[in-house]
């Protein structure tokens, strides 16, 4: 199992650790509900260094990205990022990812899920027929997500870069906490605002930056946050988690990711997806909240009032900010309208739920 550059910090902070995607990661420190509230209301720090980063460089870099991802990366200027997906030959999702434009046409960073680093690398390499220079910088790259309404206020004194006014899905690079070449982007997967901080762990940079952030956030009460709260935070927003809500067998259109699926260019299986779009998909990912008392979990079956199986739960939890049980799952398209009553099969019971709009409220 791999460690990140912050493992000793997590242990010193009393984190409950568990294996995740081959990494020894902090699941929680003081409790998921407490950490979740800290991010929604104040600020919290996630070590997400397990995520993968690839650099694609050269004249053909943009063309390669355009051919393998669903979103339109030609729209990106320097300092902009976008959410996108890699598709397989059947129109399923190889991974969801972020595309950072370092230099238009010439240099990009792809940020991929930890569990998919090797799979994505192999997939992209096989499609790299024009000899684009590829670097897997995952091992040496540290990534901290500092999220919450007070995150940028806390971090601003640590740098001369303007991070208070950094627009959503844009980034800047410079000196942060005395460390050079730190990339800060106004991204994150919590819906709480804040930034993500990428840097290389050289000359003790990981310790320096971790300590500087916690010192800067001391009076404001900044907290370390584990992957448990990361999951409840993203789920409240209706954000997909790879391996739960999306995978090689789900199409971006089924998953509600039509907004990042642009038919202004050709990409892997774009013709299949275009056909899906014009004919309509047979199932869709929906959000639902429980009416009866119970908590939906991954893989529980979903039925209609007559007891016919109409789908499956992909994510579920008791939502800490909302004080109700929520979930997402794929159901047949005729069952996807808002307020439609569906039933979640929990152990030996059929419990009533209703389809709701995302994000959950």
């Amino acid at each position: 199992m791999k460690n990140t550059a912050f493992t000793q910090k997590h242990l010193a902070a009393g984190a409950k650790m568990a294996p995740f995607a081959g990494f020894n990661m902090p699941i929680s420190y003081t409790g998921i509900n407490d950490e979740h509230a800290a991010v929604r209301n104040n600020a919290g720090v996630f070590d997400v260094s397990h995520m993968g980063e690839f650099i694609l460089k050269g004249e053909g870099a943009l063309d390669l990205i355009q051919r393998i991802t669903t979103n339109d990366a030609s729209k990106l200027s320097a300092g902009k990022a976008q959410y996108s997906a890699l598709t397989n030959n059947e129109g399923g999702i190889v991974d969801d990812l972020l595309v950072y434009c370092l230099e238009p046409n010439k240099s990009y960073m792809l940020v991929v899920n930890a569990g998919n680093i090797q799979k994505d690398w192999n997939w992209i390499s096989a499609l790299n027929t024009a000899g684009v220079e590829m670097h897997n910088i995952s091992e040496k790259t540290c990534l901290l997500a500092v999220q919450g309404p007070n995150a940028t206020k806390i971090l601003q004194p640590l740098t001369e870069m303007d991070i208070l006014n950094l627009k959503y899905y844009t980034f800047t690079k410079g000196k942060f906490a005395g460390v050079d070449n730190v990339l800060i982007s106004a991204t994150g997967y919590t819906g709480a605002g804040g930034v993500e901080i990428y840097f290389e762990d050289i000359n003790g940079a990981a310790d320096i930056i971790w300590d500087a952030i916690f010192e800067a956030g001391k009076t404001a009460g900044i907290k370390p946050i584990g992957l448990g709260a990361r999951d409840t935070l993203r789920l409240e927003m209706g954000f997909c988690l790879y391996g739960n809500d999306i995978d090689d067998t789900t199409s971006p259109l089924e998953a509600g990711l039509g907004w990042i699926t642009r038919f202004t260019k050709n990409f892997t299986a774009s013709s299949i997806l275009e056909k899906q779009k014009s004919e309509g998909v047979k199932r869709k990912l929906v959000g639902f909240e429980m009416i009866d008392k119970g908590i939906p979990r991954h893989d529980y079956q979903i039925a209609d009032a007559e007891g016919n199986i109409i789908g499956k739960v992909t994510s579920g939890t008791q939502a800490p900010s909302l004080q109700k049980a929520i979930g997402m799952g794929y159901v047949t398209t005729e069952n996807t309208h808002t307020d439609n009553e569906i039933y979640i099969l929990i152990r030996d019971k059929k419990l009533k739920a209703k389809v709701v709009k995302l994000p959950f409220q």
Partner: protein, 125 residues
Amino acid sequence: MNIPDSLRYTKDHEWVKLDGNTATIGITDFAQGELGDIVYVEIETVGKTLDADAVFGTVEAVKTVSDLFLPVSGTINEVNPALAGTPELVNSDPYGEGWMIKMTVNNPADVEGLLDAAGYQQMVG
């Protein structure tokens, strides 16, 4: 970790307090810590007579769901009514306010056969 000497324990992390032939049962401090924030305790076996090791309910934390196993055979008489509205009592006071059920045990001597505090301490390390 809190493991009171006065209680008996199971390998499934339940504790038992015997008073005559009535036993009060809950989950241990270790168990609540492992589960994390508890959000729902579902016990629908009141009035039922079950064997030792039978599932008498489930406890749901934010991230996980876990079965509850009956430490000894007997009849379940009562579920802690406070848990319906405040399941977090299991986290904050696992041996007190966070108790789960009261039961009439078939054979009080069965409780003596469970782990004592030292035995449980050794098991969880």
